[in-house]
């Protein structure tokens, strides 16, 4: 089974929480100090100015439209990657030849630089759809490999028990397979969600679909509006974290509901 990795913040001790907050404050101060030393906001914008710009953006209607544009495409690409990755992993776990057949495809998708995919996708698709396709391609191999490992690690003993008690496949899936796949699924979600925003916004910056967060970042770069560049970047990071936390919360709630049955 694949470990879910980082310790949950709620499990941290008080001292550890203080250390974590102190580390963030230290780097914010270092950033502020560096900006003051450089004294050139074109190169390094002070954090307070970035925050001011971000708050200004929050008052603009175009900001929310751009966030929704990118969110919808990221979520769409992620859902497609999750579905396809899960189905292909199930197929590969069931039929060994399918695993052999899919391995080169997954290795290739994982190895090709995201920029190459974006440029290639721009030949096939309109710039408004490129980020969906790119997110799908980034998420697919992560979900596939994590879930395949999880499926291979399922308990053969429980499988035998299910066979002897003639448990129907739908009940096996919900009550036997999903609980065993929980660590692999959470790991895939966490990795995939983080990567989806990075690759999705990268696709938008190269494809420049009007009205997206990537378009706004590109405009900020074009007009050397460094505070806006920083503020939009911060917005992308915040959206990525919120999206990840919301998705993980939903999945964990679903598992908790399952365990209470």
């Amino acid at each position: 089974m694949i470990s879910t990795g980082a310790m949950k913040p709620s499990n941290l001790s008080k001292t550890e929480k203080i250390w974590r907050v102190a580390a963030v404050l230290f780097w914010l101060l270092a950033w502020q100090g560096g900006a003051m030393l450089l004294n050139d906001s074109l190169l390094l914008v002070p954090p307070l100015r970035v925050l001011r710009r971000l708050f200004a953006l929050l008052g603009e209607r175009g900001f929310y439209a751009a966030v929704l544009f990118s969110l919808a495409r990221n979520a769409g690409g992620f859902a497609l990657g999750l579905t396809a990755g899960a189905l292909l992993a199930a197929l590969a776990a069931r039929f060994r030849p399918a695993e052999y057949l899919l391995r080169p495809l997954m290795v290739t998708v994982r190895s090709i630089p995201v920029a190459s995919f974006i440029i290639l996708a721009l030949v096939w698709l309109s710039s408004r759809r490129v980020s969906v396709f790119v997110v799908f391609l980034m998420v697919l191999p992560i979900v596939y490999s994590n879930l395949l490992e999880g499926m291979k690690g399922r308990s053969a003993q429980l499988e035998e028990m299910a066979r002897m008690y003639r448990i129907p496949w739908a009940r096996r899936l919900v009550f036997l397979d999903l609980p065993q796949l929980r660590p692999a699924l959470l790991s895939a979600l966490s990795l995939g969600l983080g990567l989806s925003w990075k690759s999705g916004v990268a696709a938008e910056i190269i494809g420049v679909p009007r009205g997206s967060m990537g378009y706004a970042l590109y405009q900020a770069k074009l007009y050397v509006d460094t505070p806006s560049l920083y503020a939009w970047t911060l917005a992308v990071v915040l959206m990525s974290v919120l999206f990840e936390q919301a998705a993980l919360w939903l999945v964990k709630r679903a598992f908790a509901g399952l365990e209470r049955l």
């Binding site: 003993q157 035998e160 066979r163 002897m164 008690y165 003639r166 365990e259 049955l261």
Partner: protein
């Protein structure tokens, strides 16, 4: 009547069962013998989880209730959910509660399996097998890890559940056959 005739089973070079012939009548049959003589292999053959290299097994019913040597419970689910998972529509909470109480586990249906001790899990997996509606009951060391009191309760529950059924019980205690009111079959090295 389940009949095994000249059954042989080997795993690689290791011959586990060599020409085993056995009749398992209705009622309780206790199977005993030293470790490694093939008791579990024999059960797996009856369950259809292994196929004999040669020989015949006849008289097996289509449905078999089994308690494996390991508990094989879903740790993340409650006791009730584990029972419901195996029993499906036949699951009845009041019947499950009565049997669990008879096994010394009253009011534990809503407890998560992960919170139970080894002996409690053993009894839950026994309850699952006893509640399953099948003419053949196969129990692999059902009383393993139970203290004297709970062992007595478990023996009484098996004895009650085996009425009108065929039950094959693997045990290391030859005295269990008498307590269960059944026959004793001893597997010996060939």
């Amino acid at each position: 009547m389940i009949i095994l005739k000249d059954v042989c089973k080997a795993f690689g070079e290791k011959q586990v069962l060599q020409g085993l012939s056995l009749r398992i009548p209705e009622g309780v049959t206790c199977l005993t013998g030293a470790s490694g003589l093939g008791k579990t292999t024999l059960l797996r053959l009856l369950l259809g989880l292994e196929t004999p290299d040669s020989g015949q097994i006849t008289g097996l019913p289509p449905r078999i209730a089994v308690q494996f040597q390991e508990d094989r419970l879903v740790e993340s689910l409650t006791v009730g959910a584990n029972l419901r998972l195996a029993l499906g529509r036949a699951y009845a909470a009041d019947r499950a509660e009565r049997l669990l109480a008879a096994l010394g586990l009253p009011g534990c249906l809503r407890l998560s399996v992960s919170t139970l001790s080894g002996g409690m899990k053993r009894r839950v997996s026994l309850a699952r097998a006893l509640l399953y509606d099948a003419p053949l009951l196969v129990l692999d060391e059902p009383f393993q890890g139970l203290d004297a009191d709970t062992r007595r309760l478990a023996i009484a529950a098996v004895r009650h559940a085996a009425r009108g059924r065929t039950a094959l019980v693997v045990t290391h205690e030859p005295g269990d056959a008498a307590l269960l009111g059944g026959e004793l079959v001893r597997l010996e090295a060939q």
